[in-house]
Symmetry: C2
Subunit: 239 residues, 2 copies
DNA sequence: TCATGTGAACCAATTCACAGCA
DNA sequence: TGCTGTGAATTGGTTCACATGA
């Protein structure tokens, strides 16, 4: 089930996930007038190892100069093109609650070639409102919006209870890339790319690590430490 | 840089990242009155393979019954305890713009043992306002808020330009877990756990895959396809 | 007779270490 | 000289397949 053909001659998943980060760092360097950058410097700024960075960039072709480094402007161009920045990826936001509004007003994704072109909501009280310069349309018009505006990506900012239905609706309309903020595991047909961002999951992960730290520092009650012991199995935790 | 001692005898990072998902699915099953569940069913609902699920749970100890499956209530308890759900992890949100407000009003993380207890902002026009039942306090009081309220996790919802300073401030106040929504790479000292959620990165990843699909379908202009060829080198890509 | 729990095999990704080239 | 680009080694994680035990 795992992407075999990607491995064959494509770009590894892990690399793709880092490209937007590189692009952002490179853009920042360019704006500050930096002309060339070494893999060491760029890696530090991006929070990865220099070997990883060089290998990542090598997947996109050789764009550096040995003994010198990478020309920032050239690399920005190239990475940007690989990420599809030359085209405009149209996005629809489904669910115009407080999160949906925040996302609609978020200006940060224009640099990555995506643009919000439509807003949908199922609540008649919200439909018709103007948010971030766009009129909120009823969910019933999903297929029409997706088809006529050439939308390629759907962002779901609906409550957990409505997420699967909203997801099914955009998929039925032909969407093949979905980014969900709802705290549920969505089921999508094969061929649809689903990414999920979930605040409670992120906080849960942080809590797990904090808990480790607390256990190592002896801050937990005895009963809980016993439970923790089952988890760590060995003594020497971080301290 | 990477967590070596965790790897030594702890729970693998990849497993930790899935535990909140399992917990959510299990909680849902419990609420629907399901008493026992097999690894096959649970894995399907969580969107992972059954072998992965069994191995993940085995890291927490054996809590299943051979030939039968897992008792939902018992497993919810156990996974919850591992994630630190028995305690309350206090959270401060820094930056009360539209995203910060949405996060403050988000009810979905209570089930994972975290609770927002303070809101901070540097803008005098926002300080003093009440959001989600809490008064917005000035950033200058960061150290005081973190120390006196026992805050363990900071959520940064500030603009990119202010993120590093905000991060430095909470770290200086003693915070060791940071969840950032700002589109910049933050630098933190060793020992501080940083997670970053970035909308534009997520959309960039989706755009990359969409671009692949478009290239495979011959939808791109000739010049762009040439660039794409450099990247993919082979034809068929599934995911 | 089941489905769990787990060694072994496999695969992807990171890291090392150095060859190759401006 | 110095830094990129890349085979080789290593690490971490997933998947397989079956022994284990209710």
């Amino acid at each position: 089930m795992r992407a075999q053909r990607d491995g064959a001659r494509g770009v590894p998943d892990a690399t793709v996930a880092r490209l937007p980060v590189y692009l952002r760092v490179l853009t920042g360097l360019g704006e500050r007038g930096v002309a060339t950058v070494s893999s060491e410097e760029l890696a530090l700024a991006a929070g990865v190892g220099s070997a990883t960075l060089r290998k990542d960039l090598s997947h996109l072709g050789s764009y550096g100069v040995r003994g010198v480094g990478y020309e920032v402007a050239r690399l920005v161009q190239h990475v940007g093109r690989c990420l599809g920045l030359a085209e405009e990826w149209r996005v629809v936001i489904v669910g115009i609650g407080s999160l949906g509004r925040a996302l609609a007003n978020y200006s940060g994704f224009a640099p990555l070639g995506t643009r919000v072109v439509a807003l949908l909501d199922s609540d008649p009280a919200v439909v018709g409102e103007r948010v971030a310069g766009l009129e909120v349309l009823p969910s019933a018009r999903t297929a029409e919006v997706v088809g006529e505006l050439g939308v390629r990506i759907a962002v779901l900012a609906v409550p957990a209870s409505a997420a699967q239905a909203a997801c099914d609706a955009v998929v039925a309309a032909g969407i093949t890339s979905v980014l969900s903020f709802a705290p549920v595991e969505l089921q999508v047909p094969a061929g649809v790319e689903l990414r999920s961002v979930d605040l409670s999951t992120e906080l849960g992960i942080l809590a797990f690590r904090e808990r480790r730290r607390a256990a190592a520092a002896g801050e937990l009650s005895p009963g809980l430490v016993a439970a923790e012991e089952r988890v760590t199995t060995s003594a020497g935790a971080t301290r």
